[in-house]
């Protein structure tokens, strides 16, 4: 049994207890759904960790710098702004984000090749 499973499971249980308390007390559906799904998500994550492989991480390669994150972020922010300003900005943003993703893939492949 992994510790993370225990912790997330305990967390889900704790939130679940409060969700049930709320349900017994009689409450509108929305908070109950928000609450219940938080508990369920924690439980699901705990379950995933339980079945996923527990072996330690392989040695990591750590990049010193990468231009991909700022490009992807700029793309996403532009797309979001495009929702307010029009399709042209959505497309521009998507292009920038795609470029960033391409860069990221290239970087990762180069790293793996070493």
């Amino acid at each position: 049994m992994r510790r993370a499973t225990l912790m997330l499971g305990g967390w889900g249980l704790w939130v679940g207890v409060w969700a049930v308390t709320l349900w017994i007390w009689g409450e509108a559906t929305v908070p109950l759904i928000a609450f219940g799904s938080a508990a369920a998500t924690a439980a699901l994550a705990a379950g995933y960790l339980l079945v996923s492989a527990p072996e330690p991480d392989p040695p990591r390669t750590l990049a010193d710098s990468s231009a991909a994150p700022p490009l992807i972020a700029a793309g996403i922010v532009l797309v979001c702004n495009g929702l307010a300003f029009g399709l042209w900005l959505v497309l521009t943003g998507a292009e920038v984000a795609a470029f960033g993703l391409g860069l990221l893939i290239a970087e990762l492949r180069r790293e793996r090749a070493r």
Partner: protein, 534 residues
């Protein structure tokens, strides 16, 4: 790619911007959060200037509404949350003996999303209708298309989404680092207190922030695609979604600074933190309860089960009492050194206490019926956020900046900095309790000259400028200390945790070698064994 023990390479501005090293990403987050802090603080000074006297003197009501919206949302989304995350991003890997965070590129992406989001929010000022002006909570229907038309409001919504999503990513990386990348000897009971506070902070972030993104998405859809919240029960549903994020975020902005204060108090008392297990269990209970209290913001709506939320909210006093006891007990029998960061830590304890105790008052529905949405609430959360979080933030700055920069800050200027802020906070925010109780509602540009509110408003305005002077002192201190550097050395304070076992600033991969880790205060263990008088 770096190898161990390689000194940090000197980098140009482009490299600094693109760096994925958790320390550089955190430094960028700090710097940007500080810029937004100054910007949102200037908005507050403008507001206080307007409120100094009854009547409208320097701005229109419309401008005022934009200012308080941007002040509140700026401080919450762009300043205090990122500041908390930046502390975690910088010091969690150092404290647990990791070379970097999990997935550094994602942490960097988080920073850039935050930067883009903040820029978008503030750019609203450049649009014809001005920036968002529906308050930091953007309650529906006021935030709907009909009551708040215009691009500024749209930009506010997408800006919030980007900024919050960015911080969510950073939090997830910190959480993963804590779970998967601790030094082999650091078992779960040897995690330092600050890291524990970050653990719970990030757990809350991961649980709560997505809900806000959903709420903002639905709000945007409501404005442009068709009714979402415009149904019976819709406005209350928006509030539920908002506060399901909005209350946990209060503790996201509190826990990390509590962790800092615990470390600072232990270090400057030359003692081990008292009651480690109780503190952690207290935080666990706190975190669980934090997800159950949100509707205490909605007592006056008459649409929630007030007694349930009053029960959970008031129960918070118990874990809070444990945290306070443990921190104070740490000092007992110690050798207390009143360095600047210790002063800020003590200031945190005193001021947050006032915020916390008034929090118990407003956790009682019949009392909240009177003071809700008044300056009483404004005073309460400024005592927790300024008196708490930011005092803790300054404690962290004086404690950890020497580690990050390699030079010490000036003590004399630091003490002046503390004195000005301590006086300023009380002068600004204490009168607000009286203002709210006496009948001044929140979010007003003007008030009646006959309501007996003038004196307290004037006091609060004077206090705000004292705070500004305090912040200025901090900037001067950083500049002076940077000009004539006083080297910090690896461990200027006799610290207890691993970050003090490496150089200042730490190398790219943080550690050349790790000391043995036998408790949550490994360096204190070493000193005790060498008989240096613990």
């Amino acid at each position: 790619m770096s190898t161990l023990a390689e000194p940090a390479p000197r980098v140009g501005p482009l490299e600094w911007v693109l760096a994925t090293d958790h320390k550089r990403v955190a430094a960028r987050t700090f710097a940007l959060a500080f810029v937004f802090f100054i910007a949102s603080g200037v908005l507050a000074l403008l507001m206080r200037s307007e409120l100094a006297q009854p009547g409208l003197q320097i701005m229109s009501t419309d401008t005022y509404n934009q200012l308080f919206t941007m002040h509140g949302s700026g401080m919450v989304y762009l300043v205090v949350t990122p500041l908390a995350m930046a502390l975690g991003l910088y010091f969690v890997p150092l404290q647990v003996g990791a070379a970097d965070v999990a997935a550094p590129r994602l942490a960097s992406l988080g920073f850039w999303l935050y930067a883009g989001g903040g820029l978008t929010m503030y750019s609203g000022f450049l649009t014809a209708g001005g920036a968002g002006k529906a308050g930091w909570t953007a309650f529906y229907p006021l935030s709907g298309e009909q009551a708040s038309p215009g691009t500024g409001m749209d930009m506010w919504i997408v800006g919030v989404v980007c900024a919050v999503a960015g911080m969510l990513l950073v939090a997830a990386m910190i959480l993963l680092t804590l779970i998967r990348h601790r030094a082999p000897q650091m078992s779960i009971t040897r995690i330092p207190p600050f890291c524990w506070t970050m653990f719970f902070t990030c757990a809350m972030t991961v649980a709560a922030f997505p809900i806000l993104i959903v709420a903002m998405g639905l709000l945007f859809a409501d404005r442009h695609l068709g009714p979402v919240f415009d149904t019976p029960g819709g406005p209350a549903t928006y509030q539920h979604l908002f506060w399901f994020y909005g209350h946990p975020v209060v503790y996201v902005m509190f826990f990390p600074f509590l962790g800092v204060v615990a470390e600072v108090v232990a270090t400057f008392s030359r003692r081990r933190l008292f009651g480690y297990p109780a503190l952690i269990l207290g935080l666990f209970a706190f975190t669980g309860l934090s997800m159950t209290v949100w509707a205490h913001h909605m007592f006056a709506t008459g649409q929630v089960n007030n007694q349930y939320y009053s029960l959970t909210s008031t129960t918070l006093a118990i874990p809070a009492g444990i945290e306070y006891f443990d921190v104070i007990a740490t000092m007992i029998g110690g050798v207390i050194l009143l360095r600047t960061s210790m002063l800020f830590a003590l200031g945190f304890l005193g001021l947050f206490l006032i915020g916390g105790l008034t929090g118990i008052i407003i956790g009682s529905p019949p009392l909240d019926y009177h003071v809700h949405d008044t300056y009483f609430i404004v005073a309460h959360f400024h005592y927790t956020l300024f008196g708490g979080s930011l005092m803790g933030g300054f404690a962290a700055a004086y404690y950890w900046l020497p580690k990050a920069t390699g030079f010490l800050l000036r003590e004399s200027l630091g003490k002046l900095n503390f004195a000005l802020l301590f006086v300023g906070v009380n002068l600004t925010f204490f009168p607000m309790f009286l203002l709210g109780y006496d009948g001044m509602q929140r979010r007003v540009a003007d008030y009646s000259p006959d309501a007996g509110l003038t004196t307290n408003n004037m006091l609060a305005t004077i206090g705000a400028f004292v705070i500004a002077l305090g912040i200025l002192t901090f900037i001067v201190n950083v500049v002076v200390s940077m000009r004539r550097r006083e080297p910090a050395g690896d461990d200027p304070w006799q610290g207890q945790t691993l970050e003090w076992a490496t150089t200042s600033p730490p190398p790219r991969l943080n550690f050349a070698a790790l000391p043995p880790i036998r408790s949550y205060a490994p360096l204190l263990d070493l000193r005790e064994r060498r008989g240096e008088g613990g």
